[in-house]
């Protein structure tokens, strides 16, 4: 059953856009073509390829869905100084962004400001999922130049930088598949009130000016982070945390990811560098390749993670600066029973060149953007090529929302995200 909805508050120019119903099973999009124009207020239905200029907040209402077709560019025109002048997309319903490798969807700023020199200006307010949000699905989608200050809300004190992507309920489905998060001012993905997540085959780089994680999960987040590249993130690539009281305990498996150059824009010693489990979080940690990062896997914070339920092994560590070798594993950490946590896991690979196909491990560790042409796959004779652990399953084998199903691949026999060429 289809019904045309007219959204009075939305103003579309050059309107080659089909208004469709908000049905979750709605696969029926208008013909591809000349989308574009201005967007404001409540928005739902399907947007076709084209550039849309957004000067004030756009809202996906509760129970409704906004679908973005390949080639959609949402250009948020903000100055990053105040909530009023830095628009966001607020999701009370579902946001389904389906780009393709050739035609990704972009959440960005107007073209004249898309320059890496503006990486940390935080021009616009990001994708803000509220407690009623059913799903935020981003496939082949790029999110960049976010981090503008927030209004007071459940998740922000007034003036805090907004996260690039926020979710607020343990029931929200968040899929980040073959997508890119880059050039953002502070935290990237923040399941603040929890979420069911699948973060796979994605790339994070140049995230956080002087602090901020690629993923900073809080209470009630469950799922998998696998086959991703974290490059040049200010603090940690991935930080599962959560109080574990009242909502499902945060449980995230982190496996087969590649972390490079993470942790060096946070000036304070002793925190943040690749993977950090904190505040009651648990999950399996295997097969991660950690190169030139300030720290290796850490199991601590101001509140401890669930240290007794974080099985870990089979990571591959390498540092081109001997200074960082000591920090693959900090020596003073103890688990909840007072036993010292050791880095001497039998199957870890320590300080052996990982042998990337095309990336020099002597690249300056503070570089935030991967060099063009870099290939992070492993050479066939690389030490990690066949050193992975496959004896476990993902938290979920697949995750679906808005008619999209993403398969979460299980662990591989190689270490890192990309395998061999």
């Amino acid at each position: 059953m289809k019904k045309l909805t007219f959204l009075a508050s939305a103003l579309f120019l050059g309107a080659a856009i089909s208004f469709t119903s908000c049905g979750k099973d709605d696969e029926d999009n208008g013909p591809g073509g000349n989308g574009g124009g201005d967007l404001s207020g409540e928005v739902s239905g399907t947007l076709e390829a084209g550039t849309y200029l957004i000067t004030s907040d756009i809202i996906v209402p509760e129970g409704q869905e906004l679908r973005l077709q390949p080639g959609v560019i949402l250009a948020f025109d903000g100055d990053g100084l105040s909530p009023e002048t830095s628009p966001e997309i607020t999701v009370f319903g579902s946001l389904i962004s389906e780009g393709t490798e050739a035609n990704p969807v972009m959440f960005t700023v107007p073209e004249d400001r898309r320059d890496v020199s503006n990486a940390f200006e935080g021009f616009w307010g990001g994708i803000q999922g509220m407690a009623t949000a059913e799903a935020i699905v981003l496939r082949h989608t790029i999110v960049e130049y976010t981090g503008a200050p927030a209004r007071q809300s459940d998740s922000y004190d007034a003036g805090d930088p907004r996260y690039a992507i926020l979710t607020s309920s343990p029931s929200t489905v968040f899929i980040f598949d073959h997508s890119t998060l880059r050039n953002i001012a502070d935290d990237g993905i923040r399941p603040d009130g929890g979420a069911r997540i699948a973060i796979v085959h994605s790339t994070f780089y140049n995230c956080g000016e002087t602090g901020g994680e690629g993923l900073n999960a809080k209470d009630g987040t469950t799922g998998d982070i696998a086959y991703n590249l974290f490059y040049g993130v200010a603090t940690n690539g991935s930080k599962p945390a959560g109080e574990g009281d009242g909502v499902p305990q945060t449980e995230i498996n982190t496996y087969n990811n590649t972390f490079i150059n993470c942790g060096f824009r946070r000036v304070q010693a002793g925190r943040g560098g690749s993977i950090n489990y904190e505040q009651g979080a648990k999950g399996k940690v295997y097969n991660n390749l950690i190169v030139n990062c300030r720290f290796g896997l850490r199991l601590r914070g101001d509140r401890l993670p669930d240290t007794l339920n974080i099985p870990y092994d089979y990571q591959h560590y390498y540092a081109n600066d001997p200074v960082d070798e000591d920090n693959f594993w900090p020596s003073t950490d103890v688990d909840a029973n007072g036993n010292r946590l050791t880095r001497e896991k039998p199957n870890d690979i320590i300080q052996v060149d990982p042998m990337f196909v095309n990336y020099s491990v002597s690249t300056n560790k503070t570089q935030g953007v991967p060099p063009s042409g870099a290939d992070f796959r492993l050479q066939s004779n690389a030490p990690g090529a066949n050193a992975g652990y496959t004896g476990f399953s993902p938290y979920r084998s697949s995750l679906s929302a808005g008619g999209v199903t993403v398969t979460v691949p299980g662990p591989s026999s190689f270490i890192g995200a990309f395998g061999t060429n």
């Binding site: 007071q152 004190d157 920090n327």
Partner: protein, 969 residues
């Protein structure tokens, strides 16, 4: 003066007609019979504070500054009056009242007690001010009351009202950062359960969220008497469950007085270490948005002053004129009072100024509970803190009273108190998360100006309409403000990113500068009608009715700006790097207009009461009922937080029975019902996100006021005008006590909440009980071996119980499975372990089981020498309620010792020395559980095996010496 700005409510128009009817009734006026006179020595010197009693009528009074007294109402017949005064022989006189209008006047000459001959010097004080006046207030009060006189305060080591309050039985203080008392805890009931009056008028608070008044804002020298009422009559406002602190300011004297004092001193803290400071004159009191042209964003650094963030240090130097020397403390006060127009017009002006340098050395640990794998708390960081505070405290008050004629009197009272704390806080922090070589360290300098002011103007009238009817009224305007401009920090962190891995201090990734301001305006009118029907004279019947209308308007302003260092790595060398040499990116140039602390509150109270008072044989009954209507509401500037209000009636009955078997003894018993309203912020449905150290917190619009049934009994014995023995007990049933609870989303216990994650929210808990025993003892030895010595002692035992919600990691069983939320059930089953609510019985926060005071003093009036040692014992109590089971933060018991010595010289001058905190008693918080095992912690935790230290403060000694000048006509 009273204004009607912006308020819809009008004061009763009836007032004018009362004046007119009052005038008409004047012709019928009849004087009640009285015994009046003057008590003098054999040299005709007036004796002040002498006691005149008619025992069979249980009437007592102390003489005024000129020795006069007036005692009434007397029935027809012959009565025996006793006149006594310390150092004099007691005298008995017989008086005969012939009729209703009769005034018996006598001058009574007391003979000096030969055993004390030549030892008594007449002190220059007047009623209320004197020790005897305070005892009279306690004895004659309708309620359970404790009073401290100006005479006692002057001789004590105390310089603020908050110092004084801890000397009263049943009272302890909550301290501020530099160790001074700040809030009163009355009988274990913390600050939210008490209110503060100035001359019987409730004053607003400069606090940005709460109602309670910081008592350290009041200089002690302005007081005539500090009175704490622990029970309430219908004519008193009903929102105290612990008690009411009434600051009775100096009243216009009978004759000219002039006193002045000057003193100076220092805190020994700054002998050991320098005093940190910043340039307070460079602080902008308006926020950047307030100063910027309309609608402009203030992302440029020119809007932010830099000179106030260049921190400096001073030393306490033996040579006070040496460069860089810390200025000594300076304190001064002045009082002038006189009476004009044949005594009809009385005036007093009193002022006090104190500029002191205080501070604290503190160690503090970061603590978390409910960690996985252990029920014990975990220590996550260690801080060494250094506070340096310049405290400027000033107060001025004036009172004028005018006797228009015999039947009409008006009084106009104005007071302004001011407290400015310029605090420099330096923190050295060890993150206790050391990598092999890189330690996570942090330094923090904070410059904080906090200026609080309370202003009150009260116009009062008293009109005798007939011999049966009296009317009194008050019109009140009060204003309380707080300003915290440019609350800023410099934070530096350890960094080793150099080739040689040497430690560098770099500017922290994110710092904030905050401008906060709030104000609270009260417009109030009080009115009381007192009817004393002559037909029931034998019963001494008095009927009172009256009420109050108060309109309160509050305004809160909060503007925060975040800064990121730009570039990210900038070195900072303390006391060398200039703030203007650092460069920043301002990440929210628009400020924070949507912050929850930008809110307006209002509260309209309408109260009415009826009260009766009569006496049957030797027993007095006072009782009645009070009805208070509350309309408390709020408006925020954040569209996501809707405005709201709470309206309710509180019906508060009370009955006070005072049995007076002899003139020196009272046996009291009383019941009253009272309430305590939620604070201004906590009923707003806001939520603030947490940080790594602080859990998210929120408000609760469903919060109900606390109400309590209070039972009191007290035996009182007053052997002389200054001695006393009081033994009392109390029992309180407290319904809906407000406590902080940690609530998970859809907590089955509180289904009305839906926080997105576990949040601290104020809730009404199950009924609590609070009971205790108080004993007060005062004795001055007038002869014998201990002549001139005196003792003041009190002890309070308090025992309270409240069932509070705690969270603890629990194995899920069939029995507790229904406690799981639907979300938890998705991932948890029988046999798993998760956090569940448990109820834990514990004492009320702030309640010490044992508290006591002991003062020993020596007063030799002949030699003009006084000395006093005062000890306060505060038993251990819960200072902070934690979320986890058995992990509350307890304050360790403490004994504080203070000393003061004074010596009169050149007739009108007194030299004095006061030393506070002689023992340099530490203030300690600890958890009654060992901490989780952690490397490198044990040397910082002295009793690691049994407890976890949370905080320890040292405040050192305050030494003050000065001169006081008294002139009395």
């Amino acid at each position: 003066m009273f204004h009607h700005h912006g308020s819809k409510k009008q004061f009763p128009r009836a007032k004018k007609s009362w004046f007119i009817s009052g005038l008409l009734l004047l012709s019928h006026y009849v004087f009640p019979a009285k015994f009046e006179g003057k008590v003098v020595s054999e040299d005709n010197e007036p004796l002040i504070g002498a006691t005149v009693s008619i025992l069979d009528l249980n009437l007592h009074i102390t003489t005024n500054i000129d020795g006069t007294f007036s005692l009434g109402t007397l029935p027809k017949g012959t009565h025996k009056a006793y006149i006594s005064y310390i150092g004099f022989l007691k005298q008995e006189v017989e008086i005969t009242v012939k009729g209703e209008n009769d005034v018996v006047f006598q001058v009574i000459k007391l003979k000096e007690d030969p055993s004390l001959l030549g030892e008594v010097v007449i002190t220059t004080s007047y009623e209320g001010t004197s020790e005897a006046g305070a005892r009279a207030a306690e004895r004659n009060s309708a309620v359970v009351l404790n009073a401290v006189s100006a005479e006692t305060i002057e001789a004590s080591p105390d310089i603020t009202v908050a110092n004084v309050i801890q000397r009263v039985s049943g009272l302890t203080v909550e301290r501020n950062a530099n160790g001074d008392g700040q809030y009163a805890i009355v009988r274990g009931m913390n600050k939210r359960y008490n209110y503060t009056l100035v001359n019987g008028i409730k004053i607003p608070s400069p606090d940005n969220e709460n109602r309670y008044i910081p008592l350290d804002i009041f200089p002690a020298e302005l007081l005539d008497q500090l009175a704490v009422s622990k029970s309430l009559t219908p004519s008193m406002e009903g929102d105290a469950i612990g008690g009411v602190v009434d600051l009775r300011m100096k009243e216009a004297p009978k004759k000219k007085i002039l006193t002045a004092s000057m003193s100076s001193g220092f805190n020994t803290l700054f002998i050991d270490r320098p005093y940190d400071y910043f340039n307070t004159s460079a602080v902008d009191f308006q926020s950047p948005m307030q100063r910027s042209p309309s609608d402009a964003r203030v992302a440029t650094l020119e809007y932010y002053s830099t000179e106030n963030l260049n921190f400096e240090q001073r030393n306490l130097n033996p040579n006070p004129f040496a460069a860089g020397t810390l200025r000594p403390n300076s304190l001064g006060s002045f009082t002038y009072g006189d009476r004009f127009k044949d005594g009809k017009l009385g005036v007093i002006v009193a002022a006090s100024y104190q500029n002191t340098f205080r501070g604290a050395n503190r160690i503090e640990f970061g603590i978390s509970d409910n960690e996985f794998g252990s029920p014990n708390p975990r220590v996550s960081r260690f801080q060494d803190r250094r506070y340096s505070v310049e405290q400027e405290r000033a107060g001025i008050h004036s009172m004028m009273d005018y006797q228009i004629n015999k039947r009409n009197k008006i009084r106009w009272y104005n007071a302004m108190v001011h407290l400015e704390n310029n605090e420099t806080r330096v923190i050295w922090e060890d993150g206790l998360r050391d990598a092999n070589l890189e330690r996570t360290l942090e330094n923090n300098w904070r410059a904080q100006v906090n200026r609080q002011r309370i202003y009150n103007s009260t116009l009062q009238g008293e009109h005798v309409m007939s011999d049966e009817l009296t009317i009194d009224w008050s019109l009140v305007y009060s204003l309380a403000t707080q300003d915290m401009p440019d609350n800023s920090q410099i934070i530096t962190v350890s960094n080793y990113d150099t080739p040689g891995r040497e430690l560098r201090w770099l500017v922290h990734e994110n710092i904030v500068r905050i401008w906060e301001k709030n104000s609270d305006q009260d417009y109030a009118s009080y009115y009381n009608f007192t009817w004393t029907p002559t037909t029931y004279k034998k019963l001494d019947l008095k009927l009172k009715a009256g009420g109050l209308v108060r309109i309160k308007r509050r305004e809160n302003f909060f503007d925060l700006y975040s800064f990121r260092p730009n570039p990210g790595s900038q070195e900072y060398i303390p006391y060398e790097t200039n703030y203007e040499d650092l460069s920043w990116r301002i990440t929210n140039g628009g400020g924070t207009p949507s912050h929850v602390l930008n809110y307006q509150s209002y509260e309209d109270i309408i109260a009415n009461y009826g009260e009766f008072q009569f006496r049957k044989n030797k027993t007095q009954f006072i009782g009645g009922v009070r009805a208070e209507h509350t309309n408390q509401g709020y408006i925020t500037k954040n569209d996501n937080i809707p405005g709201g209000e709470q309206k309710y009636w509180s019906i508060l009955p009370s009955l006070h029975i005072k049995h007076m078997p002899t003139g020196k003894t009272n046996i009291r018993s009383s019941y009253f019902r009272s309430i305590s309203r939620p604070s201004f912020l906590e009923i707003i449905p806001y939520r603030r996100p947490g940080t790594e150290e602080i859990r998210p917190e929120g408000g609760n619009p469903n919060l109900r006021p606390v109400d309590a049934h209070n039972f009191d009994a007290r035996f009182e014995y007053f052997p002389t005008s200054t001695d006393q023995i009081l033994i009392g007990g109390f029992y309180k049933i407290i319904n809906n006590p407000i406590e902080q609870a940690i609530l998970a989303p859809t907590d089955p216990q509180f289904p009305q909440f839906l926080p997105p994650s576990t949040t601290i929210i104020p809730v009404n808990l199950e009924t609590a009980i609070n009971q205790g025993i108080e004993v007060d003892y005062m004795k001055r030895f007038t002869q014998g071996y201990f002549k001139n010595f005196g003792i003041r002692a009190n002890y309070t035992f308090t025992d309270s119980r409240i069932e509070s919600i705690k969270r603890t990691r629990t194995e899920i069983t069939e029995d507790n499975y229904d406690q799981l939320t639907p979300l938890q059930r998705e991932t948890l089953g029988i046999g798993d372990t998760t956090l569940l609510n448990v109820m834990q019985s514990r004492p009320l926060q702030g309640q010490s089981r044992h508290i006591g005071n002991l003062s020993l003093f020596y007063r030799n009036k002949k030699k003009g020498f006084n000395a006093q040692v005062s000890m306060v014992y505060t038993g251990s109590r819960i200072a902070v309620v934690s979320a986890g089971l058995d992990t509350d933060w307890w304050m360790r018991e403490m004994i504080q010792l203070d000393l003061s010595i004074e010596k009169t010289f050149a007739k009108n001058f007194v030299a004095f020395v006061k030393i506070a905190n002689l023992l340099d008693t530490p203030y300690e918080l600890y958890i009654k559980r060992p901490h989780m095992p952690q490397v490198g912690i044990n040397e910082l935790q002295p009793n690691s095996a049994t407890e976890t230290l949370v905080r320890r403060d040292f405040y050192h000694r305050n030494i003050l010496f000065g001169v006081r000048y008294n002139f009395n006509q």
